[in-house]
Amino acid sequence: MKRFAQLIQELELSNKTNDKIAALVTYFSEAEDRDKPYVIAMFTGKRPKRPITTTFIKQWAIELTDLPEWLFTESYHSVGDLSETIALVLPPATHTVEKPLHQWIGELAQLHGKTDEEKKDYILTSWDSLATQERFIFNKLISGNFRIGVSNKMLVNAIAKQSEQEANKIMHSIMGKWQPNEITYEELTAGAHVNTDNSWPYPFCLAYAIDTEPENLGDTTAWQAEWKWDGIRGQIVKRNGELFIWSRGEELVTDQFPELHFLKDELPDGTVLDGEILAVKDGNVLSFSTLQQRLNRKTINKSQLENAPIGFFTYDLLELKGTDVRTEPLSKRRQWLEEIIENLTTKDIAILSPVIEYKDWQELAAIRETAREINSEGIMLKNVNSIFHAGRKRGDWWKWKINPYTVDTVMIYAQKGSGRRANFYTDYTFAVRDGEKLITIAKAYSGLTDKEIKEVNSFVNKNAIEKFGPVRTVKPELVFEIAFEGIAESKRHKAGLALRFPRISRWRKDKKADEINTLDDLRALISVVE
């Protein structure tokens, strides 16, 4: 595991993509062969079932360190990661044991079905034989939750470089169905498993936000405009009589959307559609918060099916009659897509995402302003000759989103961050005015520069009123403009509404606390949105 620990350290120490890729390439050249598929599985979020609950792990660590629980909790607040907190507070190891990564993972898998005592004995013995960094990794192996700043794309690029294969092919291969204990690194990079597997999706083609005026893109006839929908990007795969629905998070979500199962009978074999899963009623797209009622549920009841019926707005065609057509121009793919959708017997569920007709950029800009009325986030511009790229590529596709909503708020609570930021108040809660009262509407921490954070921090130190655990209430004085993407009613929030993606857009040093927005302003916005 030492070699893997070294990789993690290298990945964490550098903030440059090229260095990270270099570290991964070296790792895949040097590491023990049997470890490699496990590393790929971990980095792409293929998680084994957790053998032990977090509660137990935490409890055993507390017992072992003899710390009061509140102190452990304070430590956790400061570190911001449970696996790391435990690795740091435990007494130093009495001896060291070196086992390859796959062996540790295998041993953990074998804990399923063991008694709690046996599990505890194994974990305590392991902790006692690992240095801090390896212990942290061991804890991460238990949770299976390894977020280390390696995107799928970065990993794929590294493996492609190391194995001298095309990145596209590697992406296919690792996105397909495979088990790290049943496949070798060579088989995985050669893609031996994906041909026999009907389910595999293609990597999604993603767009960057437009960084220039659309006028600079040139002739409008070269650009197909579509609405940008705010749902779940999805891929529908129909092969050999089987239907698979993939979300952009590379998760299979087929069972969550029974409305789309008719496609199993109606789509021809060897068809792959790209589109957006949305809540749709009578042909109208509903808000994201309505769709949310349908996400991440194991079972769906009747009222959910009625309140949030699902539709699939198709964007693109990736596979036609079993042939990969991604390198055909968009204009051609769109034509085939239209034919396929027209041939469906069941209408109005899987439909074409409309192409927007426009004469010039000015007209399109005006159309874009109406996006919110139909629950769209703006416009997508796709070059009619573009291929369907693997991943994010600059130049062929652009997002042209409408500007976010903004609201002026006052900061009323502040909380310290983690680690080095444990010394700074970095997490803030904001309120708007409701009559004489202030009412909380959002929590946000991103969007300020280091210098501004230091300034806010010194304000909090001087103006803290009360303490609630790690939270300080502060004099309502600092005004911040909060940007957000959407707004919806919410019973869970005191304000009766919730903002989507709130973040600090700027510090309004020019405004006083009595100039902020009111709750009524936000309520009025909801009625406009709905």
Binding site: L71, L88, A422
Partner: protein, 342 residues
Amino acid sequence: MALIQFTNKGIYCKQGDFYIDPWRPVDKAVITHGHADHAKWGNNSYLCHTLTKPILEERYGLYDNVETLPYNEQIDINGVKLSMFPAGHVIGSAQIRLEYKGEIVVVSGDYKTEYDGISTAFEPVKCHTFVSESTFGLPIYKWQPQQLIFDSIDSWIADNHAKNKTSVLVAYSLGKAQRLIHNLKADYPIYVHRTIAALNAAFQSAGVELPATVQINPDIKKEELQKGIVIVPPALADSKWIKSLTNPATGICSGWMAVRAGRRWRSADAGFALSDHADWPGLLDAIKATDAEKVMVTHGSTAIFSRYLNEIGIEAEEVKTQYGDEEAEESIEKVEETQITK
């Protein structure tokens, strides 16, 4: 009456009529060590350890109104017996021991319990009341033995050289920089920022032995720096000058680097958890060794650390001070930032 009081000017000893590490100007200031949050400019007279004087001279131009005292020597101020004991924090750092009518108070300033090879080793002092910092007063902070840390810095530097990168270490000009210079094994020329060079010279003229270093100046070629080791204070960590070097790799040396979130917060290529403060076991050991009946917890994790001390049967209370302000130290170092570029 208590021997010390916490006032809005600093820690005050009424019986002796002097302040320890005052943060506002006073008539008579006793200084624990040279960092800017403890030693402020503008007091009428100063009393500090012999090796803190060169720091005050170099940084504030104070020559005439500074009296000094070596470790373990006692003087009498209005009937209060005052002596200094090594705090192990930086060169010249001292714990101030006060004794009056049998009552003993020790104000420790900042301290670390591990000997760093260059600051006189920390010595526990028995007392009734102990004033302690708590910068790293959480059980997550447990330092590795310094030799292991220096080994990893040395191998990081070797690796940088192999990859044609310029190694830039970020360290406080007072304390951490001298500690690095003294302990790094690598046989490369060490280039230091002016603030560090000035303190090194001051220490050397006061008789402290330090390996030779070169002050960074515009005439030194980038290739030479790339073949050596560059040390700068935190104020320069993200400066344009560093970005202008040949493939710079920045390594921050600070206790905060023990936690991953701390390493991510700073845009560095490497973080080394090398601290001049006591870690969690260090704080507890130091406090227990004083046999103090009462502990006053100043800057750091004050609330958490004092609560824990009370729970393990050591009476403790948190006090508000203005110590622990890292920006104070950085602002002194920042003054000199422009010196290298032009």
